[in-house]
Amino acid sequence: MPETFPVATPIWCPGCGDFGVLAALKKALAELRIPPKDTIIVGGIGCSGHIHNDIQVYGYHSLHGRLLTTATAVKLANPRLTVIAAGGDGDGYAIGGNHFLHALRRNPSIVYLVMNNGTYGLTKGQPSPTAQIGFEGTKEIPFEPVLMALSLRSSTFVARGFSGNQTQLVRLIKEAIEHESQGKGFAFLDVLSPCVTYNDTYAEWRKAVVDLNADPDFDNTNRSKSFQHILETIVSGRIPTGLLYRGEGASFERNVLLPGSEPMALQDISPEKNLESYKKLLRKFA
């Protein structure tokens, strides 16, 4: 087997939450025995968007905010791949917000990991859409990605983890990857991943997080109840985490692709292969 790229050492500041996300992701992939050759990580642009350099799988570094559209097409091109999109909150909720909405609507079987730190780490600490009120003078009410995800009837997997809780995070990533691999649709996982340099929220978040899956009253199969529960938790000043919603719906690739067809990426596209059907295309215009 040829020698391939040397896995990079993460470029993050010591203590950055993204280290925890990387560790959990590696652990989840290993425990699920996902073949690295069949895995592609699509990174965003930001500190977080470097994560694909640090694991020996296929990596694609997208444009800022465009990781979801790219990853969606990778999945359509070859549904046999495990497709993981991973980026920041600025990437996904600001510049890429429209694509987030449409990924939720389409439900492609990809994992979407957002390393949410409430700031633009790479551009040195401006407030992101999820910045807490008061951060760098922000007066805007923070964007709540899990509520948005829940509010689309087509969403099938909505979760939130915390980089400071490895056990829970590994479990959530594994569940997300399984959702993806089984073709069940869009596995959205927002991960609280503090930026220790510009917005160090570790202590605050450690106090505020609450694992809703530990609450026997929480039903993560009921969209409206889950929504209400999460909203109330947020309003009370806590941060809901866990697998917040799991539902069922046709995946994008199932809706779009011809059932049973060979993945596009693997098809023989030589003209001889399809000559008769190509002739038929021409006949339409004769």
Partner: protein, 602 residues
């Protein structure tokens, strides 16, 4: 029957013609264009070639809309200069069409809203009748006025009734039931009406056997070329005049295990095309100016990360929303220059529907062999007007995937680096799923492994590597086409659908003893400087014909090869394509009383 008829009785002898030009005009959404497509079918069945052009507004209903059909024993690439017959459903259509009418032309007018007011030249034959009213009262469907008018028109054109009936029947067979019956009944009403009002056969066309031509618009030809060239993934956001590509591929790609995705915007569309390409699929997106603007960042990404994608830009009138349905050729600068940073790209400019097919296949091959974005630049007229073309020759289609490795090839390598330096700048490519092919693909500057790098030496080498590919790709880019007399001292240079009007302008000029020649440029970036230099060297005056105000092609030529003092612009930017006579006229004016006289820089 409430028909009123004003008939001028004059014996009419059918005129033998090799060509017939008909306009059908009315309000948008009232079905005027179906008359054009029915007639196009009839003409094909008697062996004629057709060209049809549509002039519509950017709304579904209302506003003047017309279609022009030209049928000819020769292949034609534009609507020409004049009209033989005009079917007008309102006064406005007469205003629009009548100035083009031949002195002995025919007008069929729907007088439901009152008799024709416009005074027409004495030899023009007008047949008027309350077509809409008739369709409404007799068939309970005013839209069937179209089919009634078609029957009358077919009489005036001297077409056989069986042929006309066959075509209408075939056309509505699939819909069956009421639709079919309604249209067949409308035809009979039309024929009876024609008898009553004494519609004569004004023309007689040579009737041969059905020809084997395809009647295709440019957008569809690109769609066919894409599938046949192995394209399987398409993403696009609806926009006139590129939507037909999306429409065609949405219907047809799934049959081949592919997919056409309607993206949420053009930013998404190009990034989807990129994603599918990264996974190993031949992919494409198509748009028009506003969407092209949004795709610009993705263009640079495809170039920097060395991802093969094909981008179709169907030009319309800009800037901004401009005149969305109208013709223009003003994105040339954009596709050649857009994007921050220095990067390679290829820009191919098909000039006719045949080109649209073959050059799309070429674009796919070039994109994959040189691992870079390739533009196909066409214009509204080429995209949406239908041409009769010889059947596309599938045996000429090759799929060349360049340095895309097979698993066996990959297995034999000691080291695999996605961006390995090589003599031609092209590196071997793997796709996810291959074992031993891990790669990092990125739009950040990177080293050979694809790891982000700001090393100065590496940067220079990577920049040169990417640019080298465009230079080598140039040797495979489509060459220009030459027309006319080699010794002519008056030349035309142009691109895209202008080929039609220019060729006919050359014929007009030849009759006035002004011999001309013409270089049709089909690669806009990189330009084939050699063919331009040779051509421009050999003429005294070169008219650069283009549908934009600032002379973008002329500017490009001046920038790349010079010859500023020989270049004159002939420009049109009112939303319509050129007419042959207008180009000939402009040349004659420019040359002054003596050929080769008066020189003025554009």
């Amino acid at each position: 029957m409430t028909t009123t008829l004003e008939r001028e009785t004059r014996p009419i002898q059918p005129k033998r013609v090799n060509e017939i030009r008909v306009m059908v005009g009315g309000q948008g959404g009232d079905g005027t264009l179906t008359v054009i497509s029915l007639l196009a079918r009839c003409l094909k069945l008697i062996g004629l070639h057709t060209y049809d052009a549509r002039n519509v507004l950017s709304r579904i209903r209302g506003g003047h809309a017309d279609g022009v059909l030209r049928g000819s024993v020769n292949r034609v690439l534009c609507s020409g200069d004049a009209l033989d017959a005009l079917v007008a459903f309102d006064e406005e259509a007469v205003e629009v069409g009548s100035p083009l009418l031949e002195a002995d032309g025919v007008v069929i007018f729907d007088s439901s809203r009152g008799p024709l007011k416009k005074q027409l030249p004495p030899r023009v034959q007008v047949y008027q009748s309350k077509l809409s009213d008739l369709a409404g009262t007799q068939l309970k469907k005013t839209l069937l006025k179209n089919t009634i008018s078609f029957a009358i028109l077919s009489r005036a054109l001297g077409l056989k009734q069986e042929l006309v009936e066959r075509v209408v029947k075939e056309r509505y067979q699939r819909k069956g039931g009421e639709v079919l019956e309604g249209n067949m009944a409308a035809l009979q009403i039309g024929f009876r009406l024609a008898d009553e009002i004494g519609v004569a056969a004004h023309y007689s066309m040579p009737e041969g056997a059905e020809n084997d031509s395809l009647q295709v618009v440019g957008d569809e030809a690109i769609g066919i070329g894409f599938i046949v060239g192995g394209g399987r993934f398409y993403a696009g956001y609806p926009i006139t005049p590129a939507s037909e590509v999306l429409d065609y591929l949405s219907v047809n790609l799934p049959k081949f295990g592919g997919a056409a995705v309607q993206a949420e915007d053009e930013i998404s569309a190009i990034n989807m095309a990129i994603g599918a390409a990264v996974a190993g699929v031949r992919s494409m997106t198509a748009t028009s100016g506003p969407g092209q603007d949004l795709m610009t960042e993705g263009l640079g990404q495809a170039a920097e990360a060395e991802i093969p994608v094909v981008i179709v830009d169907v030009q319309r009138s800009g800037p901004s929303t401009g005149m969305p349905t109208k013709h223009e050729q003003s994105d040339l600068n954009h596709v050649v220059f857009a994007g921050h940073g220095d990067f390679p790209r290829l820009v191919i400019a098909p000039a006719d529907v045949t080109d649209c097919f073959y050059l799309t296949v070429d674009a796919l091959n070039l994109a994959e062999k040189y691992q870079m974005p390739v533009f196909i630049l066409i214009d509204q007229a080429l995209a949406q007007n239908s041409q009769s073309v010889p059947p596309f020759d599938l045996s000429k289609v090759r799929v060349e995937r360049g340095k895309l490795l097979s698993q066996t090839e990959l297995d034999s390598l000691p080291v695999y680096k996605r961006y390995e330096f090589s003599s031609d700048g092209v590196s071997r490519r793997t796709i996810p799923g291959m074992s031993g092919g891990f790669s990092q693909i990125t739009g950040n500057e990177h080293n050979e492994w694809g790891m982000v790098s700001v090393n100065t030496e590496n940067r220079e080498k990577m920049m040169r590597k990417r640019m080298l590919k465009a230079e080598l790709a140039k040797t495979e880019m489509p060459r220009g086409r030459f027309y006319g007399s080699p010794d002519a001292k008056i030349g035309f240079v142009s691109f895209g659908s202008n080929v039609g009007p220019i060729l006919e302008a050359m014929d007009i000029l030849a009759t006035k003893n002004v011999p001309t020649k013409f270089l049709l440029v089909r690669s806009l970036h990189p330009l084939h400087e050699d063919e331009l230099v040779q051509f421009l060297d050999s003429v005294d005056t070169a008219f650069v014909v283009e549908c934009n105000l600032s002379g973008q092609l002329a500017g490009l030529i001046r920038r790349e090869v010079g010859f500023a003092n020989k270049i004159f612009g002939i420009n049109r930017f009112d939303g319509h394509s050129f007419r042959p006579s207008e180009i000939a006229q402009r040349v004659l004016e420019e040359l002054g009383p003596k050929t080769g006289g008066n020189s003025r820089n554009a």
